[in-house]
Amino acid sequence: MSIEIKGVNKMFGDFVALDDVNVSLPTGQLTALLGPSGGGKSTLLRIIAGLDAADSGTITIEGTNATTLPPQKRNVGFVFQHYAVFKHMTVAKNVAFGLEIRKRPKDEIAARVDELLKLVHLSQFAHRLPSQLSGGQRQRMALARALAVEPTVLLLDEPFGALDAKVRKELRDWLRRLHDEVHVTTVFVTHDQEEAMEVADEIVVINNGRVEQVGTPDQLYDEPANDFVMGFLGEITTLNGVMLRPHDIHVSLTPEVAGAAEGTISRLLRVGFEVRATVLTDDGEEVTVILTRTHARQLGLETGVRVWVTPAAGALTMPSLTAAAG
């Protein structure tokens, strides 16, 4: 195991940022720390890097107890949400910074910088200042800078958070491919579940300072440990007192299955290939259903039509807390 986090607690005044966090992050993998804003994931990442100190608990990086080590002794690469570029240095100088601090020979530094700039596709910008680069280019430069020192772990704090949607998607794919090339243990923080599921080998879901679940994207989606994880990873709706995904609901115009809930379509919204229907059941539940446009047309769905809804065969369901309480 590359990074072992044991019993880590962190308070900011009265606010509990991390509450007895225990996680092991495997070597060579790309792990996402996923959770809502203010859930403690960035704090955990900064504690791993040594930029913040935990109130209690230990951090072990590749077998070395790093709990009390200052950041410069941990050999981690850190990429910040807002790039944190060295504004007064050229792109090449930025990337060379860690190597110059380590007093490597000049020609070795030059060769390594060259190689890294090629890796992040910035070779032609080597002599520009960061202010002349776009956001996406700056973040790639920051990544090359962090990789230059050959870190044991690479930590990225919402690396694509400040970029626009298109660039964010490009960089996401690019990060995945880069990781497949360099294989450095990578941990990145995100609040975007799609980003985490697309890029990560493993996801750690953090909420209110606690680890809710650890697993592969498929495990998390198919076997969520609780309703928070289920709700955070995708849309959910309630039918007959169970929670399930809106696209896992079977709609028919006749009572085909025993126990199907009868109701009226109260609202129909078409988004591209998708149709979102709101069914008001006779029991007073509002059920959201997602179907393809073709399917909705086959059934002839319109507002006011009577329908019967049941969980589709093989659907993931979970008892609803609100239904149990009510």
Partner: protein
């Protein structure tokens, strides 16, 4: 194109603009430019002889040298402490931080004469708090150079800090954290990242404090012995010569002080645009 009413508005605003211009320029002229020009005019009333005569007086030469020495020493000390205190104020939280921040502005609000008196009370050799102890160990503060440097330091204290603090605040600590995570020690981070980022603020602060230090009068006059040729700085010399009816010398020395201060400001003005182009 313009309708009559909009022309009227434009005319009126033009009138207002002109009145404002005349007012501001006139104010500056009466308050700053004319008196300064008068000093220059008097200095060169007899060609270069005024300055030549002044420079032939050993007291004048000594006073100018002393002023330069004190200003340079005070500025160096103030730069080191100013940058250090700015870092402390911006990058660290501690009890009494706001009190310290207010204290730094004190020299701007307290009269320099009061500063001088306070220093005399603490450091004089006969009845001060520290003075007798220091004098027993061979260090005279009041009526000597150390006291004059201290008084100047006190007066110029806020100038570097007030330039550097806003720049440090705007800079944030992202770059410093990045440098730390890349393996730089605190010293390396300061020298390679922080200092290059705030260098223009420091330069500006240094030049401002140099100009202020050259012209300091009240505080230095109180702590210095003001003995001609020994502990008399240029500003005090100007006053003394003027009162002794050696007005030509007074004007010449005054002109040299103005010239040095203006030179400082020109240097800054020349440096600044290069900064913004970059």
């Amino acid at each position: 194109m313009a309708s009559p009413s909009s022309t009227a508005v434009a005319n009126r605003s033009q009138v207002v603009t002109w009145v404002l211009r005349v007012l501001v320029v006139g104010y500056l002229l009466m308050l700053v430019a004319w008196p300064t020009a008068y000093v220059v005019k008097h200095t060169f009333a007899g060609g270069m002889t005024g300055i030549q005569d002044a420079l032939a007086d050993p007291d004048v030469v000594h006073a100018l040298k002393l002023t330069a020495q004190i200003a340079v020493a005070a500025v160096i000390i103030n730069t080191v402490f100013g940058v250090g205190m700015s870092l402390l104020l911006v990058r660290h939280t501690f009890i009494g931080k706001r009190a310290l921040s207010v204290l730094i502005d004190l020299p701007l609000s307290v009269s320099p004469v009061v500063v001088g008196l306070a220093l005399v009370l603490v450091y004089n050799g006969r009845f001060g708090w520290f003075g007798p102890f220091l004098e027993d160990h061979g260090l005279q503060i009041i009526f000597a150079k150390p006291g004059m440097i201290m008084a100047t330091c006190f007066v110029i204290l806020p100038l570097v800090i007030r330039e550097v603090v806003p720049v440090l605040e705007e800079l944030g600590d992202d770059q410093e954290q990045a440098a730390r995570s890349l393996g730089a020690s605190g010293r390396q981070t300061f020298l390679r990242i922080t200092l290059p980022s705030i260098k223009w603020a420091v330069v500006y602060g240094v030049v401002l404090s140099l100009a202020r230090a050259l012209g300091e009068f009240g505080a230095v006059k109180v702590v210095a012995g003001n003995v001609g040729g020994e502990t008399q700085v240029a500003t005090v010399l100007v006053q003394q010569k003027y009162q002794n009816f050696q007005q030509e010398t007074a004007y010449s020395v005054a002109f040299m002080l103005v010239f040095a201060a203006v030179l400082c400001l020109i240097v800054v003005a020349l440096l600044r645009p290069q900064d913004s182009q970059k």
